[in-house]
Symmetry: C2
Subunit: 489 residues, 2 copies
């Protein structure tokens, strides 16, 4: 089918841009940034031309008209491509260009405003970005609230109401568990033995760990960047990155486990469908469920460290006098942080509840952008018991809104919820659980490959979790996990 060829050509083009973006984050010389921006812009622009071309639409329509001849997988792919096209066609090109300029200016202004911790410098940009988000939501349409239309960008066929119901059950539990965990931690402070933990040795341990959980280095790599990420440069080219702290080897290691979780999902997608919906990850929430599962449910488990702590002790001799029990205590420490990306497992979701609440109110017009710092500080204080020291540590800390990503934050807590639900479902299989207890995680990976990865984007995220676990997405398994880990019951 011509439309399949075009979709694959589109993916090929975008994958070229990904190579250039990866290089920009890893190895680009300082003076080369401007040319690199031109290169990436050219590629994205050609990719955009392709999906909005008459040729694309004609090829899709032609395939749809003849879809009775096709197998059901082809038909599903066609329906999903049609859905994407319909959604793309809702937005006039003028709006897309306006948004692209606003995001570019917004990111620039945000970076400077954050540096100076001066919200008014970012305010006019945020106002423009919110107006554009509302305009897009109206053009796309929604049945509940405007937030639904934006959430759709990240979580297909998932409603704000569904998410809000889960979060409403989760939030009081997280507050209760994290408060108790912090209280508990104050009674027993554990510090990791002093560094240095040499970077070369960390790299060696990380690579062994990544390989042990199933990350395929013949189809991927680990490099070093300021902000860890996972990116797909081709169907057999999945690259993850981490950063190193010579005082704490667990920082790079959990970065690798998190990104390897993303990477295992990408490496488990159907290779031959690269570029088609069936060859793509279905949603950010599902993606995050994979990274959080490997980071927290595997990487912070006793079973994991029962195997890996002796190896870490060999590599880092200062750990030899630090018992495993103390190390686990260090991994499970809980404390209130102002910065989301530094938050531990016990308190992380509080940061998300705050942001989702604020962005829904901003979008609905119940909160004006001007009042964001005040509302942030109030919402933060209600959840954490103290106010951020300034806007830099408050409403200016994240890039997401500045790049137009309203609706994105919800996917982080969805990921946490889904991870716990998937992990609990897998552990019901005694053979998976028994192997897990011995530090063999490959039956778990096989289960995820079968339940999640192989479906690519063919099953809506909510349905995917339901079909994988037998129960609709809900917060109970995650609450159970947090309670178990932090309160030991």
């Amino acid at each position: 089918m011509r439309i399949q060829e075009l979709a694959k050509e589109h993916a090929l083009l975008e994958s070229c841009a990904e190579v250039l973006s990866w290089d920009e984050e890893t190895y680009l010389p300082a003076n080369a940034l401007a040319h690199r921006a031109d290169q990436v812009a050219w590629l994205h622009s050609r990719a955009h031309e392709l999906v909005t071309s008459a040729e694309w639409e004609d090829a899709l329509n032609e395939a749809l008209e003849n879809d009775s001849n096709k197998n059901s997988r082809d038909v599903q792919n066609l329906r999903l491509l049609e859905r994407e096209l319909r959604r793309a066609k809702c937005l006039p090109i003028e709006l897309i260009n306006r948004e692209s300029v606003a995001c570019s200016k917004g990111k620039h202004a945000w970076a400077k405003a954050r540096e100076k911790s001066h919200f008014p410098d970012f305010l006019p940009h945020l106002e423009v970005l919110l107006d554009i988000a509302r305009e897009k939501a109206e053009l796309w349409g929604y049945s509940g609230e405007a937030y639904d239309a934006l959430l759709e960008n990240y979580e297909r066929n998932t409603s704000t109401a569904q998410i809000v119901a889960c979060f409403a059950a989760l939030e009081p539990a997280v507050i209760e568990i994290s408060t108790a965990a912090i209280q508990h931690g104050k009674m027993r402070t554990t510090l990791l033995p002093a560094g240095p933990y040499p970077v070369a040795a960390q790299m060696e341990l990380n690579a062994r760990v990544a390989a042990a959980v199933g990350f395929d280095f013949d189809s991927g790599r680990i490099d070093t960047t300021a902000h860890p990420f996972c990116t797909t440069l081709g169907p057999r080219d999945i690259r993850i990155t981490t950063r190193y702290d010579e005082n704490d080897f667990t920082s790079s290691l959990f970065g690798v486990l998190h990104e390897a979780g993303h990477g295992l999902y990408e490496q488990g997608l159907p290779v031959d469908d690269f570029g088609l919906p069936s060859g793509k990850a279905v949603s950010l929430g599902i993606h995050e469920s994979q990274s959080r599962l490997w980071e927290n449910h595997v990487g912070r488990s006793r079973a994991f460290w029962h195997v890996w702590y002796p190896k870490a002790q060999e590599i880092f001799p200062q750990l030899k006098s630090f018992p495993l029990e103390d190390f686990m205590h260090y991994l499970w420490r809980a404390e209130h942080s102002q910065i989301r990306v530094e938050a531990d497992e016990a308190t992380y979701d509080l940061h998300i509840f705050l942001r989702v609440d604020l962005e829904r109110r901003l979008l609905a017009g119940n909160l004006t952008a001007r009042d964001l710092p005040e509302a942030w500080n109030a919402g933060y204080t209600a959840r954490f018991g103290f106010a951020p020291e300034d806007d830099r540590h408050g409403c200016l800390q994240d890039i997401h809104w500045a790049m137009g990503g309203i609706g994105y934050f919800a996917t982080y807590t969805l990921g946490n919820m889904h991870a716990a639900q998937l992990f609990a479902a897998a552990m019901k299989d005694a053979s998976i659980a028994n192997e897990f207890a011995t530090g063999n995680f490959s039956p778990l990976l096989d289960w995820l490959r079968n339940a999640v990865h192989r479906h690519g984007g063919l099953i809506d995220p909510w349905d995917l979790i339901t079909s994988a676990t037998g129960v609709a997405p809900n917060s109970s398994p995650y609450i159970h996990h947090l309670r178990n880990r932090y309160l030991g019951s």
Copy 2:
């Protein structure tokens, strides 16, 4: 001008392909090769479409019609673009596609034939490639011999007769000097102290050396590959590579100096003209002159090691008991090798004379492809005094013919000649020579920037050497250099 914009877009596209090719050589995971080939092919194909489009030709013609309004630099660029287009239009698309397939199959067959040292497996491909080369030469036209038309790909406005005249004067001198140098070396064998020379320490030394000769790491990098190269990913993004031998640190260091010589040329081209003829290197011979100048005239000089040998001795303690005089003797050793890329300075050109002679005869039909191994061995024996052990070490060693690069080999010896001529001309300036003697090479780089780099592709290579040195290209300075270095007179 529209044509300038198109030329810059073409360069942008090709520079995207260069990023992907660089990554392929440095960091690509094993399984990702097939997708990478698709990505690069897509980009080259779009680039080719652009330069052969009606839009390109129209834009060029429009600019040419109005060229009285333009400054002379613009006019020169237009004339050069017109020349390229005229040359491109000589070849039908059918031939270009046929050549592309033949090169791809040729490279594949060559690699397997070389591995087995079995020329007959490569023969049919070589025959096809030679037919295509002859066909192209006829379509382009030539006044002297067919080789002229192919040489034009690498050395604009340079005739085979000009090159052959230089080589005829050079060859007996090289034979005389290398024979004496080898004889001399047999009387005094010097071996570098035993390794290991740790790779990390080599990297540190190489980076310091590259920076000291002027390579700008804010606009470039050094990475590791099986075969060293230099590539331009953007006007401020010049990347060089090297490979490491733990038994001999000079291998990677001279690799870096050679590639840094290419890199300095690229970093010295007019940045704002990236994509225009005035922003490009003018020829392979001129490019090679820069690499050989920094590798051999700077890097193998006493002045260089007077400064850098003490630093090398600090980094590699085993050198402390190895006097500088012995080290220089090691650097200037001469011996007959079967493999071109392993040849020393004294014998390198013999490999080139052999190849240029053979490819001219193949092209003219005075030698059939079937008889190549025999002719190779005869020509090799005449120059080296013994025959290669097999075709793997003989006519199958180089990839150039297999990828359609007939006429390419001549540029290596042209580079050696030009390097000596440029270096000698620069050294006539006492202030450059005095600084050079103290190990300060930046006046030399300034001279090259002014005499060569800043002109980009605006001056034909033969004229560029003439204008830079006051004399037409000739082999005397190179013979003088070799005699001086190897026979000490």
